[in-house]
Amino acid sequence: MDLFEYQGKQYFARYGIAVSPGGVADTVDEALAVAERVGYPVVVKAQVKVGGRGKAGGVKLAANADEVRTHAGTILGLDIKGHVVRRLWIERASDIAREYYASFTLDRPNKVHLGMLSAQGGVEIETVAQEDPDAIAMLSIDPVRGLDLATARRWVAEAGLDEEARAQAAELLVKLYECYTKGDCDLAEINPLILTTAGTVHALDAKVTLDENASYRHPEWDEFRATETEDPRERRAKEKGLNYIGLDGDVGIIANGAGLAMSTLDVVNQVGGSAANFLDIGGGANADVMAAALELINSDPKVKVIFVNVFGGITRVDEVATGVLEALGRVTITSPIVLRLDGTNAVEGRAILAPHLSDTLITEPTMLDAARRAVAIANA
């Protein structure tokens, strides 16, 4: 789960990481109230989960109440790359002497944590990584040992942070690592981490991705979840325990297992079609799940045909067949359905479907055959 900047800063604050004083505002009046509280000048920042908001006019400096009113009014409702701004973060403006970059994430190939620290912050770290990789001090951290202050001090020196920033930065990095690990983040990134002209170090932005698998031990995440603005179809799918991702094509896909679902997309593409979605119904494929899946796909106006690709491993194909029939009895599906049912009890499953087959309920013996058939229908 990606957090908004203000949520990331709230999360940072829990771990003692310094951020600018500020507050959230959903209206111009609220923006004014926050600005009066934190003191001018302030920065009015659009809260959207997409990069490039600065260029899009979503971040403005305001020296007084009039400017806050103007900027807040303009930014609220602004469309930034398809994300409409509904909320602002108003914070006290900082006198920036230097901008750094700091982040922690998992180094998957090496199975350790990776800290990245650079004296060149405030720009896309990918750009720095490409143009001047030596400007990023990479620190491999053994998850068993963690990051201690001595190592952090060595790291800030290695990264070439300005000397007056080093002591504070080292302490902040230790806290950021704690936020990353104890806070169960997939990513905890500060860009820029700043040194102010007054000589203090704090986080001017916050990019936090939380590991959903850890939500059971973080009741405090509920408030973050409340603000998630998902594709309504994807949200409905999640509520049903389905893993759905909307795509641009016209072949609706239902498969059991993420790998098989991805593979189904590939095969549809291979035979000249294009998938309308990724949908993994998981291990279970009873009538409830199948009905929900069919209904979900059916609600997508792009879909011209539905391809159900189920491999019976644990799941028995006869149960899947029964589930499909039951589902069809409960919901009205407008698109033709092509099924490929294979694996455990496939013969029995096909036998169950046989009496119901028609121009709009078709079975094919293999994944490839089924994909061809579905694509032929979609392209007809």
């Binding site: 297992g257 997309l265 990724f278 993994d280």
Partner: protein, 294 residues
Amino acid sequence: MSIFVDENTTVIVQGLTGGQGRFHGLRNRDYGTRVVAGVTPGKGGSDVEGIPVYNTVREAVDATGATASFVVVPPPFAAGAIMEAAEGGITFIVCITEGIPAQDEAVTYNRLVEEFPGVRLLGPNCPGIISPGKCNIGITSGDIALAGGPVGIVSRSGTLTYQALYELSVQGVGQTTCVGIGGDPVPGTNFIDCLSAFEADPETKAVMMIGEIGGSEEERAAEWITHHMTKPVVAYIAGVTAPPGRKMGHAGAIISGSKGTAQAKMAALSAAGVRVCQNPTEAGQAMVDIVASL
């Protein structure tokens, strides 16, 4: 022969008294696996259809001499269960639990490597391992596997593991061992571990490898194959058409920038001499041809 497990492997099930543990543990036993004990804290002294249950792994190992454990406990307890297995003397741990926090996986993996270098963890979030006719630890259906070799299978994807097994079995091509390594952020066992074991196993004559988008494990495997693999390898990589930046089920199946694309993985494997196929059926057929020509 087989890799990692065989007909003599004795297995305990951590979480045998739970719903999933009971279902899969008994299913594994029914397949012929030597499931000798269960472990559930507080339920020591009871039994599950004749399988004795102990309070701790140590007690179960002391009583049965088991060397393998099947961990099937909910996410909050999985990391602890894995460490308890290693501390209790288990050397091969299969963990099917889905949804373990990545931070726990990172700590657990490194603790095992640092403190118990002789212990292998398979998973978490994997279908397990099956040596057809000998041993089945995990959730793979024994019905779709065929004993007798000569093919080894290693897969990052659950359902595609079954698909791969099935494609071979229906054509009469058996398997030595099929290992599902899982797609979680920090897998205990990776492609290279399995390729290396298959390369060393005299009964395995060819290997089928099922990868997917995300990460760089397939590329690393390709590098290893270039230098060390003498046996033919057939590969299929799922996710050619997956859009970048979206999680497709596994934490692993996500493309970041130009890295981890199916195309890059397929190119690396092709360069390593691997026969790369466009879909599972094609991969199965390619393997049938290879086995016929052996």
